[in-house]
């Protein structure tokens, strides 16, 4: 019942997978910040206006977590993912303000089978999250471990 559509073999260089669209509500900005990042610009409109962010804005970790969900809903839930060892870089380029609608894409920049873990490949993505004005608010690169559909073919495709 896993519902997987995408395996390692489907992640070819240059292919872009859309992130699910997501509106960011003031209440959820405050809720996340209250638990993890209680700084004034993430807790109230007034606090945000008094900061260089210009208004009630999401914690960068909230934006990263929302990106994760947008990626999950967009394509990861239908992929044979085994998780990720990390993030090469992530840039918070613009504030994410209450009411913003985020969208974006994950583009494959590299894919290779793992000799150390037969049956699993490592796919490196460029992730871009943008707001309703088409401005990139966050971008970063990271590798994700993804199961090979056919382990015999995957092993022949190239190894680390």
């Amino acid at each position: 019942m896993n519902g997987w559509v995408y395996y390692f073999e489907d992640f070819v260089e240059g292919r872009a997978f859309p992130l699910a669209e997501r509106q960011v509500l003031a209440e959820e900005i405050v809720e996340f910040a209250s638990e993890f990042d209680p700084q004034s610009m993430h807790l109230s409109e007034e606090g945000g206006k008094a900061s260089i962010l210009g208004g009630l804005s999401a914690s960068g970790w909230h934006t990263a977590s929302l990106f994760m969900r947008m990626m999950y809903d967009g394509w990861l839930s239908r992929s044979a993912s085994e998780g990720s060892p990390g993030i090469e870089f992530m840039e918070w380029k613009k504030p994410v303000l209450a009411g913003d609608t985020l969208s974006g894409r994950s583009t494959v920049i590299e894919a290779r089978a793992l000799r150390s873990r037969p049956g699993i490949g490592l796919v490196k993505f460029l992730h871009e999250v943008e707001n309703q004005n088409g401005e990139i608010v966050m971008r970063g690169e990271n590798p994700i471990m993804i199961r090979v559909r056919n382990p015999a073919e995957g092993a022949a495709k190239g190894t680390v």
Partner: protein, 155 residues
Amino acid sequence: MRLIELSSPGTRIETGTLLFTAEDIIRFAKKFDPQPFHTDPVAAKDYVFGALCASGWHTCAGWMKMFLAYWETEVARLESQGVTPPKLGPSPGFKKLQWLKPVYAGDSITYSVTLTDSRPLASRPGTFINMMINDGVNQRGETVMRYEGTVLEFE
């Protein structure tokens, strides 16, 4: 006072310890990262991690939570001594984030911050960028997470 005057580069400061309960792990993951190994203790057995473990973003958010708790105490301490605390601002990003070990239900992660460098921002007079190494270590002494963070500071 500048951050670099408060904490000399290379000094590792422990900010606090956060317990990751199964409930916390599942609650965070259902909102942001509902992969089976983060939401379902039974299904998790069929994956590489082998058991329910926290979303990497949850582990990162935990770093922020403990840093701010530490910072609030530090600001109060400095103010009580009549010292103006460093004015920290937002962060432009991070790099080399490694999730080195899974954070399993019941693990306690002790977070730390190590300032590595501080320099003025050419594009914004009166603003500095501080570079630091942030990490989290579990109760077995294993580093579970590490990244190179940044934070802006205003004069």
